[in-house]
């Protein structure tokens, strides 16, 4: 495994809890400097993966390298170089926002001057500076999430683990937090491993995504690639014949062709290199009256639901 171009590499990574397999032979590569979305429904194994990568759980099988280190034996090296926002904010309610950050700044041995400056900078960016002395016990979930993101980025980690950072937030708060996160990641050029079941978030933030269900990896690619794979071409017309459909199915670049007779539509799955005009010409010559050709690209949410639905 090489660590230079990938911040995270796993091969056949597996974790069992008693008789339950929470993670089943996961093999992924997370490029350095990318935002990698790890998508899956509740209980898919996202948090387990994250804890394994941080060296907070022992694996049952397989291998993993995070920033070039083995989480099992070199977990401290990984945790020293990474930041994490786990399933809860992990903030201390009885402390003020400033003290919460101060504690973790001390944990990461930030020098006093730099500590003050960094806390100011992050609280300012998150719009929380004016409320820094308040105990956070009465803060809204959105404010706490923002503070937790600031805490995770405090020591300028080279790798950031975020476990559903916008879970439980309303649309406005989610969008604001995503904006802050994207700006911070862009400014500090770090690798982000993000688990979520929010497809809009994955589409907006992630360079690559992996879809997981019941511990098994279902698909990997950029959001555009995943949408492209699931896209299809629909040809509406009449005078269809079985032979014409069969001939089209055998054309180069056509991966699948199925005729929906109730709507007079031919649904084609095409290779990106396929020539749609050649398909249409072929159908016309075979006597089909072609009325409309449309290319339907699914949203990432539809792709996700299809993948998860197929498996279930």
């Amino acid at each position: 495994m090489t660590a230079s171009e990938f911040a995270i590499v796993t091969q056949q990574l597996t974790r069992d809890f008693a008789s339950v397999r929470a993670l089943d032979r996961l093999s992924i590569e997370v490029p350095v400097g990318s935002i990698y979305g790890f998508l899956g429904p509740n209980g898919a194994g996202k948090t387990t993966t994250l804890l394994l990568l941080l060296g907070l759980l022992r694996r049952s099988g397989g291998e993993a390298r995070v920033l070039g280190f083995d989480p099992e034996t070199e977990g401290t090296d990984i945790r020293t170089r990474s930041g994490a926002l786990l399933d809860d904010t992990g903030l201390y309610d009885q402390l003020s926002a400033e003290d919460n950050l101060e504690f973790y700044a001390r944990v990461w041995h930030l020098p006093l001057d730099h500590r003050r400056q960094r806390i100011h900078e992050l609280l300012d960016q998150m719009g929380l500076w004016s409320r820094r002395r308040e105990r956070i016990v009465k803060w809204s979930r959105g404010m706490r999430q923002k503070l937790a993101v600031a805490r995770a980025m405090l020591h300028r980690p080279s790798l950031l683990f975020l476990d559903e950072p916008t879970a439980g937030l309303d649309v406005v708060a989610s969008n604001t937090l995503r904006g802050h996160l994207a700006a911070l990641v862009d400014a500090e050029r770090i690798t982000v491993f993000l688990t979520t079941h929010n497809m809009a978030e994955a589409e907006q933030l992630c360079h690559r995504v992996a879809v997981i269900r019941d511990g098994e990896l279902l698909a990997v690619g950029s959001p555009v690639e995943l949408r492209e794979v699931s896209s299809h071409t629909v040809i509406r017309g009449h005078e269809w014949s079985t032979e014409a459909v069969q001939d089209v199915a055998n054309l180069s670049g056509v991966l699948a062709a199925s005729l929906d007779q109730s709507t007079d539509r031919l649904i084609l799955e095409l290779d990106p290199s396929a020539d749609v005009s050649a398909v249409v010409r072929h159908l016309v010559l075979a006597g089909v009256a072609v009325e409309e050709v449309t290319r339907k690209t699914e949203s990432l949410e539809e792709v996700f639901l299809n993948l998860v639905g197929e498996e279930s």
């Binding site: 941080l54 401290t76 020293t80 786990l86 992990g90 009885q94 001390r106 944990v107």
Partner: protein, 246 residues
């Protein structure tokens, strides 16, 4: 920075957080101060009754055992069960802090606070004795008495803390950890007391023959050995991968 200095800094960081949490947690101040009113009462009433013997003999051992037992007993269940209950444990464990720094920081915070509370108790006792049995000059504890008092308080606090941490590591809630700790520290002395009552004809003459200094030395020895064993056990049980796997 040397490894040792780095570790000391990590322990101090954990202690900083514990101190902040303890002092500023809503309601926690009263939760801790109220049970300590009785030892403080003892540190007034018994010196009043004992007079100079409070400073020259060993009755002050009473508060040196009571204050660490009560304070550590109240605060140590929070150490890990509290972090788990408030969902802050996983984030703390995902940080760069070494296992032993987290554990020692929590243990030393509780024991350190107990000793800090003990000192006013001892000073109040000395002031009361001087007030009720004024000898023309200010009297204070004999150095050996003070040494025994503080040594015993430290060992009792560490013992309570080590047991408390072992329990807290495995408990899901603070309440569960507190109940288990109270069970551990109440049941054995009760059983021991009952055995002592049953066999008092044989045990008391034996202890009297043993002598005070030898008894005290034995108690210190047992506490030191007990502390070493329990601390090693606590370090051994503190495993990140096990704490989150439950």
């Amino acid at each position: 920075m040397s490894r040792l200095r780095e570790r000391v800094r990590d322990v101090r960081t954990v202690m900083w957080k514990e101190r902040k949490g303890l002092l500023w947690s809503q309601g926690s101040r009263w939760r801790i101060v109220l049970p300590l009113l009785s030892p403080l009462f003892i540190s007034i009433y018994i010196p009043w009754q004992a007079g100079i013997d409070w400073l020259e003999g060993y009755p002050s051992i009473l508060i040196c055992v009571a204050i660490p037992l009560l304070f550590v007993g109240i605060s140590i269940p929070e150490s890990f069960a509290g972090e788990r209950e408030r969902h802050t444990l996983s984030t703390l464990l995902a940080s760069r802090l070494p296992d032993n720094a987290i554990l020692l920081g929590k243990l030393l915070s509780c024991v350190g606070f107990a000793l800090m509370l003990l000192l006013p108790g001892l000073l109040i006792g000395a002031a009361v004795v001087n007030g009720v049995a004024w000898q023309g000059s200010v009297l204070f504890y004999r150095p050996i008495v003070l040494l025994v008092d503080l040594g015993l308080a430290l060992l009792v606090g560490l013992l309570m803390g080590s047991v408390g941490i072992l329990i807290s590591l495995r408990s899901a809630t603070v309440q569960g950890a507190t109940q288990a700790l109270m069970g551990v520290f109440l049941v054995p002395p009760m059983v021991f007391g009952m055995v002592l009552m049953l066999f008092r004809d044989k045990v008391i003459p034996f202890l009297q023959g043993f002598g005070f200094a030898a008894t005290l030395g034995t108690v210190f020895g047992v506490l030191v050995v007990g502390n070493v064993i329990l601390l090693l056990l606590a370090f051994n049980r503190f495993r990140r991968s096990k704490l989150l796997a439950n």
